[in-house]
Amino acid sequence: MQRIFASSLAGAILLASAGGAFAKDTLTAGEVLEPPGLDPTANAASAIRRVTYANLYEGLVRVAEDGSVRPALAESWAWSPEDLAYTFKLREGVKFHDGAPFDCSVVKFSYERAVAPESVNAQKGLFEPIESTECPDPLTAVVKLKRVAPNFLFGMGWGDAVMISPASAETNKTNPVGTGPFRFKRWVQGDRVELERNPEYWGEPARLSAVTFKFISDPSAAAAAVLSGEVDYFGQFEAAELLDRLRADPNLHVEVGSTTGKVMMSLNNARAPFSDVRVRRALAHAIDRPSFVEAVASGYGLPIGAHQTPAEPGYVDLSETYPYDPDKARALLDEAGVKPGTRFSIVLPPPAYARRGGEVIAAYLAEVGLQVELVPMEFAQWLDQVFARTDYDATIIAHTEARDLDVYARDFYYYNYVSPEYKELYQKYAGTVDDEARLELLGELQRKLAEDEPNVYLYALPKISVWNKNLQGVWRNLPLPVNDLTKVHWAE
Amino acid sequence: MRTAAPLLEVRDLVREYPLPRPSLFAPRPVLRAVQGVSLTLPAGSSLGIVGESGCGKSTLARCVMGLERPQEGQVLIDGEDIYALSRAGLRRARVKFQAVFQDPYGSLDPRHDVRRILLEPLASLQPETSRAERESRILEALEAVGLPSAAAGRYPHEFSGGQRQRIAIARALITRPALIVADEPVSALDVSIQAQALNLMMDLQERLGLSYLFISHDLGVVRAITDRVAVMQAGKIVEEGPTQEVFAHPRHAYTRRLIGSAPKPFSGRRRRARAAQEAPA
């Protein structure tokens, strides 16, 4: 610790004196939201995975920058269709940060813990196909499925499916112990999480000796931190309006990549008037998406027409399904019997796309005679009131999970969208193995959503990231909402 | 003179004030401002109370005015104990006694014009009076104190100190009381103005048959206006008698010291040294 302190100080001095000569091997990464805990298997907040994924915790497999599934703690795997089983060959000599060994018993523990009834895993659905996990020998794990689940392997690459040691499972929330190339050093709540290099990493060691995640919720403060060099890397920069300023700085690299984030106005389909598809379509017609993106995100963001982004496989561009047409919107509303002056509320969680987007949508809807009451809400309350209890009319939210078309097929999800046709279609897709056919079905699912318009789909969230020009190995695109810093290093 | 009860009678009056505790758990000490004072004031006469600051004369005055309930003793006006009266009863009794205060600037509400100032006791204590009667009473009171009727429409700040004290006297007169309690009514005035005010009070007494309870630290003033005088020291009356008698032949040592200390013109410088020797501090 003393050594790290000294070296970072030396780095700072060098930075100040030489300006460009880097002897730096530490990184300060900026993040908008602070995680509520550091156990990705116990809480839905994506902020947890943004700190822990690949850095602290690892799963059997992992997702690469291009969205492909790659080996991680499993060197290799085999799929046996006849007994519906994956056989994972585990890496040897892997140790958790606390010294606990990694073997098949850990796999069994982690997966069984995730599917257990009392599990609080936010993506329980990923594990739902699992029939059993067996350990023929310590370095082999056999996961039997209930049925064909083409997305299963991809899901096992998510942050929610990482390996947890039984010894530290209970305390991971505040003292995370994983197998990753970085280990936890300390968490100054409300300010930062500090990680340091894991010297006993099984694989290629991290190039950085230490990483600090600093939580800066205010976009202009974030910009200032980046401009001043206080933060070297900002993975998901929220204030697109500041990009021009950042671009103008010769020390910075600005990358606008893609994410699987879908910004939408979610509607409570169980509530009138949103139970009427004509009303939902009218809302879709009433909003000028390109202008919306311009106003909310300074034009950074691609209008979408269904619950899918170009970053996900099988994307179909449906953004012109409901072109901006206030007259048509008014006509549709009239048809549905919605009188001008009808009021409803839109709940707005804290992110700028929601708070700002709410204002824009309110203005658009006012054009077609709808009176909107905007209800700002903190995220905790949002989770409770909107997500858990579905006590809302409409809300604006980004769904950041990739390939999550299943949510519309669930028995209960907060949109309260009920469509036997969609469910059937989805089950068909889920049971299909052939890639060609899967893509075809994906397109159909999207078209079905665009037709029913359970939510008003707005735009695909771009991955706007900013980093110091001398930083290398940073992900440009974001197949998952994570910050993989394992390959990041400073230019020589 | 009537044979009935005297206009004002004070019997064994005691008034104490609690003081702040010297320490957290010590008992509260008590300041005994008035310690068993008895007085009698027949109708049509004037009684002076003299004493130095802190002797309790103002507390006594406030008790007599019905403003501060004594812990012990009684204040009888026309034979009625005003502290035994009901609220309404006290209000009715107040018609008979009114007050004049020391500070000609502080005793008149700066936001009220003279008419309103004079009207207040009348409207409050004699609500039965008609509108016309109230107007005539205001004029009567103003005339009595030698102010023009035009004064009614003006505000206190437009008057000099002497004139203000006239207004205060007019206010005291408006209910046609029998007794006026005057607490240092002229001490804030310059000598020449003070003489005007004292003369006015004497005139009014003779014309209206008023009685005065006249409180002052100024021996000369008390001597000029009272029939009888009571000398107070530390909450008690140490000497009482006809004014001329007390001034000519003070009996109590304190009275002698008081009179001896008062500066007198024509005394010449050397007298002072003697006076000081007589009563060392």
Binding site: - | R257, P265, S267
Partner: protein
């Protein structure tokens, strides 16, 4: 002999240049060891006179005419030299001992302050003197510690502190502005005695300002009666009280209860005081003629034309001539 200690020669104080005159043509001479009483009602300008001598008039007031102290022309003196006179050679005692003392400074420090400032004494030296001074003014230690604060003393004791403060540097002139007005009579007597003794011991000159004829008559050798910014009558105390040539002096005396003859016929009316009618004219509205004419019971036609100057009443020869500013001075004396 050299120049008199204090000499006022037509001292005039006006509000702004050429503005309203608050003091008009005051002339006085005061020597060491003399006690002069300045009497008048409020607004007559007595306190202003004191402040003019101290050079502490409010900024907007202008001084003209002669004002000399030991030969120095005070208004012309630079502030720094004037400052060195204040407290050192001219000291002042104020009326309200409650407010004239700094509430947050110990009395010892306040007494010592002047000596440290003017005589360059150390804190210990100055405090030793302060201790002696407190003993002298009747506040003996250890009961009256130097560390006491003003609020811990009674009014009379505070005034004793004020006197100690004023006497600290052994001034040549002591100005006492209504030093006993706020005090009870018995305390007043003691304070006046003390003042008297201090003057006796130090040989300083005393300028005693008061509204109380009794106080001056007992304390001062000489008296000057002021009215509306002017001295209307002055002379040896006995002389003035014997004659009271100016109708205002007379009126002032007659109005005070001292002048009242209490004898009355049984059942007859109570004797009245001789009040002066009217009020003191506002400084801005003082007439060009005799300022007292409007209130004077003996007013003559010429009183409304001419502003009288102080003129001697007797043939002279007395140490302090008896002067009055009246066209028709009264002749008869006033017996007590």
């Amino acid at each position: 002999m050299s120049a008199p200690l204090l000499e006022l020669d037509g001292l005039t104080v006006a509000l702004g240049t050429g503005g309203v005159e608050l003091l008009s043509g005051l002339s006085l001479v005061l020597e060491r060891g003399e006690r002069l009483g300045l009497v008048g009602e409020s607004g007559s300008g007595k306190s202003l006179t004191a402040l003019a001598i101290m050079g502490l008039l409010p900024e907007q007031m202008r001084v003209s005419g002669g004002l000399r102290f030991a030969g120095d022309d005070l208004p012309a003196l630079p502030e720094e030299r004037m400052r060195r006179l204040r407290g050192r050679r001219i000291a002042m005692i104020f009326q309200e001992p409650m407010t004239a003392l700094n509430p947050v400074m110990s009395i010892g420090a306040q007494i010592a302050e002047g000596r440290r400032l003017h005589l360059g004494e150390s804190r210990a030296e100055a405090e030793a003197v302060a201790r002696r001074l407190l003993d002298r003014v009747g506040l003996p230690g250890p009961r009256f510690d130097l560390g006491l604060y003003p609020h811990q003393l009674s009014g009379g004791q505070r005034q004793r502190v004020m006197i100690a403060m004023a006497a600290a540097c052994g001034p040549d002139l002591l100005i006492a502005d209504e030093p006993t007005t706020a005090l009870d009579v018995t305390v007043q007597a003691q304070i006046l005695d003390l003042l008297d003794e201090i003057v006796e011991e130090t040989g300083a000159a005393l300028l005693l300002i008061t509204h109380d004829l009794g106080v001056v008559s007992e304390t001062a050798d000489r008296i000057a009666v002021m009215y509306a910014g002017r001295i209307v009558e002055t002379g040896a105390t006995e002389e003035v009280f014997a004659r009271m040539a100016h109708p205002y002096s007379q009126g002032l005396f007659a109005a005070s209860p001292y002048g009242l003859d209490l004898r009355r016929a049984p059942g007859g009316p109570r004797p009245r005081l001789k009040a002066i009618p009217g009020m003191v004219p506002d400084p801005a509205r003082r007439p060009a003629h005799c300022v007292f004419a409007e209130r004077c019971g003996f007013v003559q036609p010429d009183c409304l034309r001419i502003s009288p100057r102080l003129a001697p009443l007797d043939s002279g020869g007395a140490r302090w001539p008896h002067l009055a500013a009246c066209l028709h001075p009264r002749a008869g004396g006033l017996a007590p």
